[in-house]
């Protein structure tokens, strides 16, 4: 029967799309779980690090690191963590909207800013709108390693130590749960002093080799680990957002198929009725 060939083709095409979105949904679900596991795995390091740093901050060291001293803010640095790929709902655009708000606020206060981007979407955003991008890394994949980020983070740390920036922020998504991700801008430098004041008595570490060298290295590692954590968390966010987006896409495709099927059935019915009417009409004429 020649009726509704276009509709049948259309249905088949939507079905194919639905297959893809369903597959993407399932892939995102499983990747999200893995990313969440990795998120948990990175926590002990950062916690231990934080403990050591609060010890260092309380130990009466002769050397005070610039990361602990706040300066007048003339220029800030931002590390923007975004995804490499799209099709993840409003995840990146929410983040960029937050960034633009803050950037306008800084501009109003005559504070300039430098940017480092992690992830392709962030880079593309700044390619389009302009901005002073000092460094970037993209295509870190689903299982990024800390070494991928060292360069980008060090650019900002060097800039801070040299006094080219007076504050360092990181913009990324916070994984609230699999349905909710929240764009956040967090201050990395200067480090906020911890409230833990249990260790009050006078003591200090034995440093090997020099307190300056050791503390420098420790703090750089600390910031790196914070950025790394954020990157991992952002990946979990990406997968969660993609999962939700693909689920709704699959649902929509299902609805579309239903509607098309209905139209197709109606057209087929109409064709049959018409054919019958013609036969009956023909028979009556004989």
């Amino acid at each position: 029967m020649a009726v509704g060939k276009e509709i049948r083709v259309k249905i088949a095409s939507v079905q194919n799309t639905q297959k893809i979105t369903r597959a993407m949904e399932m892939v995102a679900t499983s990747k999200m779980r893995k990313a969440q596991d990795r998120m948990k795995a990175t926590r002990p390091y950062a916690e231990k690090m934080r403990k050591v740093i609060s010890h260092v901050a309380h130990a009466h060291s002769e050397y005070r690191h610039p990361f602990f001293t706040a300066r007048e803010v003339k220029r800030v640095g931002i590390i923007v963590v975004s995804t490499d790929r799209g099709l993840c709902g409003g995840l990146n655009s929410n983040l960029f909207r937050l960034m633009v708000q803050h950037m306008k606020r800084w501009q109003a206060a005559n504070v300039e800013f430098d940017v480092c981007t992690i992830g392709r979407k962030g880079l593309q955003f700044f390619q389009r709108v302009g901005g002073n991008v000092l460094g970037q890394v993209s295509r870190v994949g689903d299982q990024p390693h800390l070494d991928d980020l060292i360069g980008t983070v060090k650019i900002m740390l060097d800039a801070y130590i040299d006094g080219r920036i007076d504050q360092l922020f990181i913009a990324s998504n916070d994984f609230v749960n699999s349905m909710t991700q929240k764009a956040e801008l967090e201050q990395l430098l200067p480090l906020k002093p911890s409230e833990d004041s249990t260790i009050a008595h006078h003591w200090d570490y034995i440093y090997e080799p020099e307190s300056k060298e050791v503390v420098d290295q420790l703090l750089a590692r600390y910031i790196e680990s914070l950025v790394y954590q954020r990157v991992i968390e952002n990946i979990a966010c990406e997968q969660a957002a993609r999962m939700v987006a693909m689920k709704s896409a699959s649902d929509n495709a299902g609805k579309l198929i239903k509607e098309l099927q209905l139209i197709y059935n109606k057209a087929r019915q109409a064709a049959i009725t018409q054919e019958l009417a013609e036969i009956v009409g023909g028979a009556a004429a004989v």
Partner: protein, 140 residues
């Protein structure tokens, strides 16, 4: 014999956590042996083997590619690096990140075009809203 609590962690995962009688680690100025009650110490590690003597004398060894060692009288933390780190390597990474950015962004005016940014974001928001409206209509 008393014991000391040992944690070995890297940025990517937790490697070891437990009690030990003694720990031997490759510090930059030479290998150190830590027993329970050691004075507080903070040192850098070279790439090498961290050996842990568990209760009962059994030994366990972990390779670290450098990192930090923190010692408190009752606990010891090894913050292990996940990769070989050296000043030159770090500088190379910086250079690479910079070059990548320079290649990606040819027009380095350094000024953010806010009008463009906001127009773009508004468009994205509108798209998302439309999708949501379509969904609601379809679902109702």
């Amino acid at each position: 014999m008393s014991t000391i609590h040992v944690d070995i962690v890297s940025a990517e995962r937790e490697i070891f956590s437990g009690e030990a009688e003694a720990v031997f680690a490759p510090a930059v100025l030479g290998e150190v042996g830590i027993m329970p009650g050691h004075a507080a110490m903070l040192t850098q590690l070279r790439p090498g083997e961290v050996r842990i003597q568990l209760k009962g004398g059994e030994q366990q060894a972990f390779y670290v590619s450098g990192g930090m060692l923190e010692v408190q009288p009752k606990m010891l933390t090894v913050l292990s690096d996940t990769a070989l780190r050296a000043h030159d390597l770090d500088e190379a990474a910086v250079l690479k990140a910079k070059q990548d950015a320079e290649e990606a962004i040819k027009d380095r005016s350094g000024k953010v075009d806010f009008a463009k940014a906001q127009a773009e974001l508004a468009e994205l928001a509108a798209q998302l809203q439309t999708i949501q409206r379509l969904r609601r209509r379809g679902g109702g």
